[in-house]
């Protein structure tokens, strides 16, 4: 029990000023770490779906914290309550802070009212990853899907979020689309709010 009972200013994270978030680390440091995350989780599962679920779970933890952090820092302690508001918050604010740029596109699904898509030509977590043939449709973007889900859930917009590769004409690598399917209650609330 080292350190217990000592009272120092840094012992409580809440007593410290909120960082401005401008600090950076090298991309390789992140890539190495992320690769270890994937490899470790590979040892814990028997199938691809389970692996994606575990990556999503890790991302979810990040998303929940990012929402809290950014609401304090960027939004003056206010949180979005409308569907389009929270989506554009993810597409612009969250993406900008985490990945240094806004997401390539945010679209509404044409077939279903409750579906939205965020697409990225070269998703950061897929940049150094090539999927072996025997792993089929596995997508490390599941981690980012988890982040999105973490933000949405904790903001009061429960949704199912999945990551998919979508081939692009004339491009060697497919883009990654994060598909967001909102729970029914979210759409009903939106309709009520008008």
């Amino acid at each position: 029990m080292i350190g217990v009972g000592k009272i120092k200013p840094y012992t409580n994270v809440l007593d410290r000023p909120l960082s401005k978030g401008k600090q950076e680390v090298s991309l390789s440091a992140f890539a190495f770490l992320f690769s270890e995350l994937v490899q470790y989780n590979q040892t814990q599962v028997d199938n691809i779906a389970e692996l994606e679920r575990r990556l999503e779970d890790a991302g979810y933890a990040v998303g929940a914290r990012v929402l809290e952090l950014l609401c304090h820092r960027e939004k003056g302690n206010r949180r979005e309550t409308r569907l389009l508001g929270i989506l554009s918050f993810i597409h612009s604010t969250v993406w900008k802070v985490l990945f240094g740029k806004v997401a390539d596109s945010l679209e509404k699904g044409t077939e279903h009212e409750d579906e939205y898509m965020i697409s990225e030509k070269e998703l950061l977590v897929n940049r150094f990853i090539s999927i072996p043939k025997d792993m089929g449709a596995f997508n490390c973007g599941a981690f980012v899907a988890g982040i999105v889900k973490g933000v949405l859930d904790n903001a009061g917009f429960p949704a199912v979020v999945t990551a998919h590769f979508v081939p692009v004409d004339g491009q060697q690598r497919p883009r990654t689309t994060i598909l967001i399917k909102f729970a029914e209650e979210v759409l009903q609330r939106e309709a009520r709010l008008g």
Binding site: K8, V25, S26, A29, Y40, V62, R65, L69
Partner: protein, 186 residues
């Protein structure tokens, strides 16, 4: 042969692609959280973090050597300086210092005042035995092993446990002689 002046950590850090440290920090936090859930025992988590760090170190040393122009270090003192001044800066954007040398020059401490891994982190009472940053010691051990140095890396001080800095003790156990075929290109 006089060693070529290595590039400074700052210069390398400025020239490589970077990401937001918060993404890195939170991702690391998610890893630790998963390990705690899966393994339940903090000792096991410490071990797993060290292993993951080792895996990273083994691969990271290649990038380090390729980008830093660091030549073979003449002694362990130089090695430690290079890790602290160039290595930490280049990957994590922080500077570390080296102190507490023993008389033989085989044991020293690397001191970190700034550590991007621990932003937003508070160690709960149930995790007091956890070496939260144990991945770092694994990285150093793995990287040094790839340049023929067997080391033992231990945490002496940890800000999450109420100390004022992070202190990593690096102890050189032995230099493994290189075996044929030599990969020396000098």
């Amino acid at each position: 042969m006089a060693p070529v002046a290595p590039k400074s950590g700052d210069a390398i850090f400025a020239s490589v692609d970077r990401v937001n440290a918060e993404l890195f920090t939170l991702t690391y936090g998610a890893i630790v959280r998963q390990l705690l859930t899966d393994l339940e025992e903090v000792d096991e988590v410490n071990k797993q973090l060290d292993q993951m760090g080792y895996n990273i170190g083994v691969r990271l040393v290649d990038e380090f050597l390729a980008k830093s122009n660091v030549n073979r270090c003449v002694d362990f003192r130089e090695t430690a300086e290079v890790i602290a001044k160039v290595g930490f800066k280049m990957f994590l954007g922080v500077t570390a210092s080296v102190t507490n040398w023993d008389a033989e020059g085989t044991t020293c401490s690397i001191i970190l005042e700034d550590n991007p891994l621990v932003d937003f982190v508070e160690l709960p009472d149930t995790c007091q035995g956890l070496y939260y940053c144990n991945i770092l010691s694994g990285v150093i051990r793995g990287a040094l092993e790839m340049v023929s140095m067997k080391t033992e890396v231990t945490w002496l001080r940890d800000m999450l446990r109420g100390d004022d800095v992070f202190e990593l003790q690096v102890k050189l156990l032995k230099q493994v002689p290189e075996e044929y075929p030599y990969k020396d290109d000098e």
